[in-house]
Amino acid sequence: MANLKELAARGDKFTGGHRACAGCGATIVARQALLAAGDKPVVTTCATGCLEVVSTIFPYTAWDVPFIHSAFENSAATISGVEAAYQSLKRQGTVTEDIRFMAFGGDGGTYDIGLQALSGAMERGHNMLYICYDNQAYMNTGIQRSSATPKGSSTTTSPNGKKIPGKVQFRKNLTEIMAAHGIPYVAQSVVGNWSDFTKKVEKALAKGGPAFIAILQPCRLGWGYPPELTAELGRLAVETNFWPLYEVEDGQYKLNHTPKERQPIDEWMFQQERFRHLKRPEHQAIIAQIQQDIDARWEQLNKKCSL
């Protein structure tokens, strides 16, 4: 894996001057992913959402690699078309370079509206890496719930109200759904652990074939925290086991990090506005349920990793 000196020597392919909020984690994802792709040429796409909107306001683009955006639910389908063109033109000898393909999508564009296109592209086996930057809500349209939004979170379409205290459902486990596709590489990473993410992007691109990485991305606006905490809150999510770092390589599960001491989930939750209403004593049961769910999922994952 490239160390920071080597990454720095490569130079940025995702530039400053974009319009993301100060402290935005999504742009950290794009920047680090392109650094990790290294000097090999890469063609990219991104679903409609914060990352795409803030980075391509005409005539300014933060992408210093070939980039295409077409719509919200079709990042995987769009890149599969680009990759098909590459396969065809390479076979015919009109393109000679060795090119990699990378698609980005938010949790809305991936867990929800783009799930079908993603599943289709993965099943077809395109040579592509799909990176879901998961900030756990539709941020670009003003913080609406998605199927990645954690239980209890207050969003503008699962608001904390007099009767209902935020989102009722637990989040969908998309990483496991992708693992069930039996593709060569699936992983979870987090903003706040650059080396874990860099390693995974490098591995995914080197493996060839379809690959999927879900990276948890703290969003200071939607989560409600001071901007300097973006990386730290990512790491803390890992330390609570809410967001384990693991990978599934050719069907083999591997845990990449086990917290020395698992932190209670409220340590993480109560640093964020979106969970603040759950501090009230009458909601203790919800916190307990959330904790239980995390512990159960962690146990399941550990079983898979020890097989």
């Binding site: 040429p41 890469v42 063609v43 796409t45 795409e52 909107v53 391509t56 306001i57 005409f58 005539p59 683009t61 992408w63 210093d64 690699v65 070939p66 980039f67 295409i68 955006h69 077409s70 719509a71 639910e73 079709n74 389908a77 769009t78 890149i79 599969s80 078309g81 680009v82 990759e83 098909a84 063109a85 590459y86 396969q87 065809s88 033109l89 076979r91 015919q92 393109v95 370079e97 090119i99 079908q116 296109a117 599943s119 289709g120 592209a121 099943e123 077809r124």
Partner: protein, 391 residues
């Protein structure tokens, strides 16, 4: 020039044209009555008869999305669909045109649900008539074949750079067997020439951004440029159609006039109905009725001036629409034609006739009846009626 005569259905003819174009990428999804196009093409791929990378996508939305990615990556790209499939693509149809990607699509016209119906009408393609695509209708399988080949040249022309859909009438043309003249592969290849994609995503040394967001400062300018491209297409379609004629004997234009110049009563139609109408006109002419037809081959760009010139001296005209603009004043062809004539000094009496929805048959008797009613002044001008529905 040597032609090969074959018996082909419309779908087979379109699939054959696609094979001879030999695109770099096809991304498509099956739907009745266009399914065969996708199936036949898959077989060409399986048999190694084309160099195409075929992407068997999981939906039409993804089909057009993949076509967009592929075309932006510099590949000659084609697809085919119909009805609900086109409707599912709707979002991406606009994007393909807005990004100025020269994708060529075969669309087999079929009614839109509900109620679900698999038969012909033009509601599907008319639904996206304002998206920026070029729309070419076919009277028969021969025209569908010829137009698919011409479409590649039109779409890729430097002054146009817009996607093109070539349509056939579902079942009537798509499944009807016809005798068609086909061209040798080499002639098709030399006619379409090599594709110059200009900027493309695989040119990794020259990174650029496709599909950027425009705020209020640039969106209007980018849409305005499409209007010029559509206007340029009026000329380009004619040039390509004439060159086709020079090389392969059949000329193509934007419209076709059949017994129109001296006609007293005329109808305007698109697609297969034109063929039926021609037979009726031949019969009526023998009886001394000055009947004529204006066939609109190209609906987008709309040949406003040519149509006005062709119709302004005719006494009575009925415009046939195989789709309706529900809640509007007549079908889309009627609306456009009436508007095209607004500036003419002399204008025909004009009425709109919506017919054939959901594959409802239109026969020679009905068309003859319509002509006779027009002649007798029994069709109310500036009104819309429904032909062939139980009222």
């Amino acid at each position: 020039m040597q032609k090969i005569i074959l018996a082909k259905t419309g779908n087979e003819a379109m699939a054959l044209a696609m094979k001879q174009v030999n695109p770099d990428v096809v991304a498509a999804y099956p739907i009745t009555p266009a399914t065969e196009i996708v199936q036949i093409f898959s077989q060409y791929v399986a048999d190694g008869e084309v160099k195409t990378e075929f992407v068997a996508v999981e939906s039409e939305h993804s089909a057009m999305s993949a076509c967009i990615g592929s075309a932006a990556a510099g590949a000659r790209t084609m697809t085919g669909t119909s009805s609900q499939g086109l409707a599912l693509m709707y979002e991406m149809i606009y994007i393909a045109a807005g990004l100025r990607l020269p994708i060529v699509m075969a669309d087999v016209n079929r009614a839109l649900s509900a109620p679900i119906n698999i038969h012909c009408d033009h509601s599907d393609t008319m639904g996206c008539r304002d998206a920026g695509w070029i729309h070419i209708f076919s009277e028969n399988a021969q025209e569908a074949y010829d137009s698919m080949i011409q479409a590649v040249r039109i779409a890729e022309h430097q002054d146009v750079r817009l996607p093109v859909m070539v349509t056939t009438d579902g079942f009537i043309i798509s499944h009807g067997m016809e005798r068609i003249d086909t061209l040798p592969d080499a002639d098709v290849q030399s006619f379409i020439g090599k594709y110059d994609p200009m900027m493309h995503l695989l040119d990794v040394k020259k990174p650029f951004t496709v599909g950027a967001i425009n705020l209020t400062d640039y969106y209007f300018e980018h849409r305005r440029a499409m209007v010029d491209a559509q206007n340029n297409a009026l000329k380009v379609i004619k040039e390509v159609g004439q060159e086709f004629g020079k090389k392969f004997d059949t000329n193509y234009g934007l419209i076709e006039k059949y017994q129109l110049d001296d006609a007293e009563v005329a109808i305007v139609a698109l697609g297969s109905t034109c063929g039926t109408s021609k037979v009726v006109i031949d019969k009526l002419r023998q009886q001394g009725v000055k009947a004529g037809l204006l066939k609109v081959r190209v609906f987008r760009p709309f040949p406003t001036e040519e149509i006005a010139r062709a119709l302004e001296n005719i006494r009575t005209v009925a415009v046939l629409d195989r789709s309706d603009s529900v809640g509007g004043f007549g079908g889309p062809v009627f609306t456009e034609i009436r508007s095209a004539l607004y500036g003419s000094a002399k204008k025909p009496q004009i009425s709109g006739v919506v017919y054939g929805l959901g594959g409802r048959e239109i026969d020679m008797e009905q068309i003859e009846g319509l002509f006779m009613d027009l002649k007798a002044g029994k069709v109310k001008a500036d009104a819309v009626s429904y032909l062939g529905v139980r009222e």
